[in-house]
């Protein structure tokens, strides 16, 4: 029997939830104040999911990087692999906001999309922050 302690983030209350597990099977969820807390805890102990935001290198852009995100949450355990992949990518300017840079990234069903536009023209690098 194993116990997993979690802080619920469903609302500001921040309940301390304890999940008792027998192998992969959830035996009990305690400490939550509402059903959302239980749902959160069940998801967290089985397949925690996260939206990941980072940057991809831009070639010939007005900025050196374009901010990107997974357009859906991906399994938390894939974060290191995703970061490894992102470091190898580059995209040519111009980049559109919402542009898909990697389709179905790491077979998660999520796309890696640009979260801003980056113009092609290289503006004077001293004039923007």
């Amino acid at each position: 029997m194993k116990e997993v302690n979690l802080t619920c983030i469903s609302c500001p209350l921040g309940c301390q939830i304890t999940v008792r597990m027998n192998g992969d099977r959830i035996v009990s969820v305690t400490g939550n104040s509402c059903p959302r807390g239980e749902a959160y805890a069940r998801q967290e102990v089985t397949t925690p999911m996260r939206v990941i935001a980072t940057s991809v290198k831009v070639e010939g852009g007005s900025l050196p990087l374009v901010s990107v995100k997974t357009d859906k949450p991906i399994p938390k355990r894939l974060i290191p692999e995703l970061m490894g992949l992102v470091k190898t990518l580059s995209v040519s300017a111009p980049v559109r906001i919402g542009q898909v840079l990697v389709d179905d990234v790491l077979d998660t069903g999520a796309n890696l999309v640009a979260t801003r536009r980056v113009g092609a023209e290289r503006t004077d690098p001293g004039t923007r922050t």
Partner: protein
């Protein structure tokens, strides 16, 4: 020297200013927005993480996406945008706003102004931490700008002082980019940022959070080589014998934001706790033509709230520009027990008022009481990181007007 006239001038193109300019233009007033950077968006441009827009757009956006939505709305509103232009001075008598940009010096003469300049980070120097002055100490916002906009890495091994949201976000961001983040120190016995950020930025990556700890010395003559930290007592004083060393080349500070409002502080006065101008229910300062919104008034928790504040300020500024809002008797409100930030500080009984406040410590169950309970609201799980909002309807405001002294207090239950 060239000069422009306009109905409404909005100063600052971040969330509050963008929303204010759209609202003023939509209300049919000629509106100019002035932004110092070459494109609008403000600090949202560097906040590439998700977590914005849940209230305003009912979806979770990153900072740049949230800014892009506001810019789209602005474009549709017909407001004019002047970028790469800074405000140097505002003349409280003539309302002349002196500006400068690469095209020269220009004076803008508006009927009403919305001041939306945001906040700055409290610098290392303000903490009076002893030691030499090595390179490698960054405010979290500067580190965020270097990493996310300039493609530059501030260090290899970092400690973070302050568990405000920017500090937590940067802990995760640096960790993901290969910087070894050895921990986060927080002076208070509770985290300064949102619980969600504690879980998803620290717990997810096993970054330790040391509550009731602070930095008592920094080391290194050229580059930072280490930091001495210690546990603090309830008053925030370091406890002798608890010192521990962290060998790091980078110290990131997330130790508070201060409204950037000195430009108008000279003539409208700044609230000593909010550190921004005193405003009323319509976001109007003590100068009748000058409205202020967002983090230049007080530091807010959510960008959604900041955008809503800007929208409201923009609408009232437009109304003032059209036809002066009548001067009514305003009801000053003061802080009672357990209230830190408080916006507004004066109720205008002519309109419903949304009161925003911050508590000094977490409370499981509490009640906000305004004017001895004329307005009250129960709170569950209130934390300093999250602002409490309470609406005061017009009828209640009339009741409050009868009291000699209107206090806002939070009573723990």
């Amino acid at each position: 020297m060239k000069s422009y006239r306009t109905d409404v001038l909005v100063i600052g193109g971040g969330a509050a200013g963008l929303a204010a300019a759209s609202a003023a233009a939509e209300a049919g007033r000629e509106t100019i927005l002035i932004e110092r950077e070459d494109s609008p968006g403000g600090v949202l441009e560097q906040c590439i993480h998700p977590g914005f827009g849940v209230h305003r757009y009912r979806e979770e956006l990153t900072g740049p996406e949230f800014a892009a939505r506001l810019v789209e709305e602005l474009d549709a509103s017909g407001a004019e945008v002047l970028t790469g232009r800074s405000v140097l001075a505002i003349d409280p008598k003539t309302r002349a706003v002196e500006t400068v940009g690469p095209e020269g010096v220009r004076t803008i003469r508006p009927k009403a102004v919305v001041f939306a300049t945001g906040a700055r980070e409290r610098p290392f120097g303000a903490l009076r931490i002893p030691g030499p002055r090595p390179v490698g100490i960054f405010t979290a916002g500067l580190a965020q700008k270097l990493v996310n906009l300039h493609n530059l890495l501030p260090g290899r091994r970092a400690l973070i002082l302050g568990s405000g949201d920017i500090g937590l976000i940067m802990a995760r961001r640096l960790h993901l980019e290969g910087v070894e983040v050895v921990g986060v120190l927080e002076l208070k016995p509770f985290p300064g940022g949102l619980m969600r950020n504690v879980v998803q930025c620290l717990d997810d990556y096993e970054i330790p959070l040391h509550l009731s700890h602070t930095v008592i010395a920094v080391h290194g003559t050229k580059r930072l080589t280490g930091v001495t930290a210690a546990r603090v007592d309830e008053t925030g004083r370091p406890i002798t014998g608890t010192a521990r060393e962290f060998a790091v080349d980078t110290l990131i500070l997330s130790v508070g934001l201060i409204p950037e409002a000195e430009l108008i502080g000279r003539f409208v006065g700044l609230d000593p706790i909010n550190r921004g101008p005193c405003v009323d229910s319509r976001w109007r300062t003590r100068a009748p033509w000058l409205f202020a919104a967002g983090n230049s008034v007080a530091v807010f928790d959510l960008v959604d709230t900041v955008a809503a504040a800007g929208e409201s300020a923009g609408r009232f500024a437009a109304r003032f520009a059209e036809n002066d809002i009548p001067e009514v008797r305003k009801i000053p409100i003061s802080r009672g027990e357990n209230v830190l930030h408080l916006v507004p500080t004066e109720i205008d009984p002519g309109v419903p008022t949304l009161i925003h406040l911050r508590v000094p410590r977490p409370m499981q169950r509490a009640q906000v009481r305004i004017g001895e309970g004329i307005v009250s609201r129960r709170l569950i799980g209130v934390r300093p990181a999250e602002m409490v909002e309470v609406e005061v309807p017009v009828e209640a405001a009339e009741e409050l007007a009868k009291l000699a002294d209107v206090k806002v207090e939070v009573v723990e239950e």
